[in-house]
């Protein structure tokens, strides 16, 4: 008990090191900005020279890793083209879908190009560009399943859907009250939900046909889409709220792409058909 002073000193040292250790590891990452508050995020992106775009990376043919281990797909091409027209490079960050919105809001990303459907709920927390694709959503079941052809057949079944997706909200808030009780099982990406469907752990899922095509092409799964489209979704580029300059620039880029045919070329490249008018 003699040298209490010595221990006070140690304590002080401890605090310093704790703080330093936090700073030390901070210095290892140059991707962090300390919340610099420039008003115009378009200017911020331009001066940084890169636009950080978030996507799942597990949703072919929209966004996935290609043979060269680069992000590829329809979303990736759209994002690249838009960035080119803004005069910046694009940096892709792959993350589970449910983590994308929090990452955007906490400024880890500048934009999300990952088949994010434009909905009123999302518009409360995000801003969207004009839609860049329209997807028909259908019910998907195993090939030998003839029990489910419409939403009403979901009653008592287990239905898989992506966590945090617009489809999940739709199932929970619209289909569930109307159809009656069924179990919703959530997934972090589309592939896992389709795999579970193929493995028989869920009875059905809902998704759009373009997403299904490469999987059927790869002969992986015995699954099929049934019935009429249950809804039609429009996806846009999501950005942080109150960002009119950026949204305007994105819209202008998208419009330019559609006008000069670049958009059609990208669409045909991934879906093998002309976009619906």
């Amino acid at each position: 008990m003699k040298s209490r002073k010595g221990w006070t000193l140690t304590a002080l040292l401890l605090m310093t090191v704790l703080v330093l250790s936090a700073c030390g590891s901070k210095a290892t990452d140059n991707g962090s900005s300390n919340g610099a508050q420039a008003n115009n995020e378009l200017e911020q992106i331009k001066s940084a020279g890169t636009m950080k775009v978030g996507m799942m990376g597990t949703y072919p043919p929209y966004n996935f890793l290609n043979d060269k281990k680069e992000m590829d797909g329809f979303d990736a091409d759209i994002a690249r083209e838009v960035a080119k027209r803004l005069g910046v490079k694009v940096e892709f960050v792959s993350q589970e879908f449910s983590g994308l919105t929090p990452s955007l809001q906490s400024k880890k990303l500048d934009a999300i190009v990952s088949q994010m459907t434009i909905t009123d709920d999302r518009k409360k927390v995000l801003d969207f560009s004009d839609p860049y694709i329209t997807n028909d959503v259908k019910i998907i079941v195993k090939k030998d399943n003839n029990d489910i052809t419409k939403l009403e057949d979901f009653k008592g079944k287990t239905i898989g859907v992506g966590l945090g997706t617009n489809d999940e909200t739709y199932l929970r808030n619209e289909v569930l009250p109307k159809v009656g009780d069924f179990t919703i099982k959530t997934y972090d990406d589309v592939i896992t939900s389709l795999k579970d469907l193929d493995a028989g752990r869920i009875d059905a899922t809902i998704n759009n046909l373009y997403a299904l095509k490469p999987i059927v092409d790869a002969n992986g799964f015995n699954i099929k889409a049934v019935g009429e489209p249950i809804k039609s979704d429009q996806a846009g580029i999501a950005v942080r709220k109150d960002n009119p300059e950026l949204v305007a620039a994105l819209n202008e880029a998208l419009k330019g792409m559609k006008d000069d045919g670049t958009y059609n070329t990208i669409f045909k490249k991934w879906f093998g058909e002309e976009p619906a008018q």
């Binding site: 304590a11 401890l14 590891s25 901070k26 990452d29 991707g31 962090s32 990376g57 281990k69 589970e96």
Partner: protein, 214 residues
């Protein structure tokens, strides 16, 4: 299996981030662990309370929650950390709490007579700690410390949720590309295993070297 071999470079990149996060976090966790252990044993009352509180929180909440608090939560207070920074910070703070318990136990395991003998030769408490107690305690602490470190190596897979493309995320991306599960998950399992064998080997060496004096 061919797919796995084709994608080894990609896995190695994932493994690099896994190792990177692990090694940096180990370093800081070690420092935090030692300081917190000493603070809990020898510090003034208020410091002991703080240290206890810290250990209790870190041990009592899931690492994933801690990572989310650091990565997504702190932003609301103006602290925007990058994915890797947040990952390292979270893991360091978490493992530091566990290590502090290891060290505390190890320090207490050194017989009291050793301290008394050190004092009898005229050493100050700090000297006794540094020259007599600590070298002995470190030896006792190595096996449980190895547990914590290897546990940490595996827990880095949680970092995928913060957008770091480490091993687990690499496998997920490849699964989405090729539509096969088993080879990729097996492959990363093997890579994790190899890395943990590496860490165990290093710790064993350290243990042997520290034992040499005896």
């Amino acid at each position: 299996m061919e797919l796995v071999f084709e994608n080894i470079p990609f896995f190695l990149k994932g493994a690099y981030y896994t190792l990177y996060v692990t090694v940096i976090s180990m370093f800081f966790a070690f420092i935090i662990g030692v300081l917190v252990a000493i603070a809990r044993l020898k510090g003034p009352m208020w410091l002991r309370m703080i240290a206890r509180f810290y250990v209790s929180i870190m041990r009592g909440t899931p690492l994933l929650v801690q990572l989310f608090v650091i990565y997504y939560g702190l932003v609301d207070y103006g602290v925007t950390l990058g994915s890797l920074t947040a990952a390292c910070l979270g893991l360091s703070l978490n493992a530091g709490a566990f290590l502090s318990e290891t060290f505390r136990g190890a320090i207490q395991a050194v017989p009291k007579g050793q301290t008394e003998a050190a004092y009898a030769t005229g050493m100050t408490p700090a000297q006794a700690m540094r020259r007599i107690i600590f070298p002995q305690a470190v030896r006792i602490a190595i096996p449980p410390m190895g547990n914590t470190f290897i546990g940490m190596l595996k827990e880095t897979s949680l970092v995928a949720a913060l957008g770091v493309t480490e091993l687990l995320r690499s496998a997920q991306l490849l699964v989405a590309q090729y539509y096969v599960n088993m080879p990729f998950y097996l492959a990363i399992g093997v890579i994790y295993w190899i890395m943990s064998i590496g860490f165990s080997a290093i710790l064993e060496q350290v243990e042997r070297r520290l034992a040499r004096a005896y």
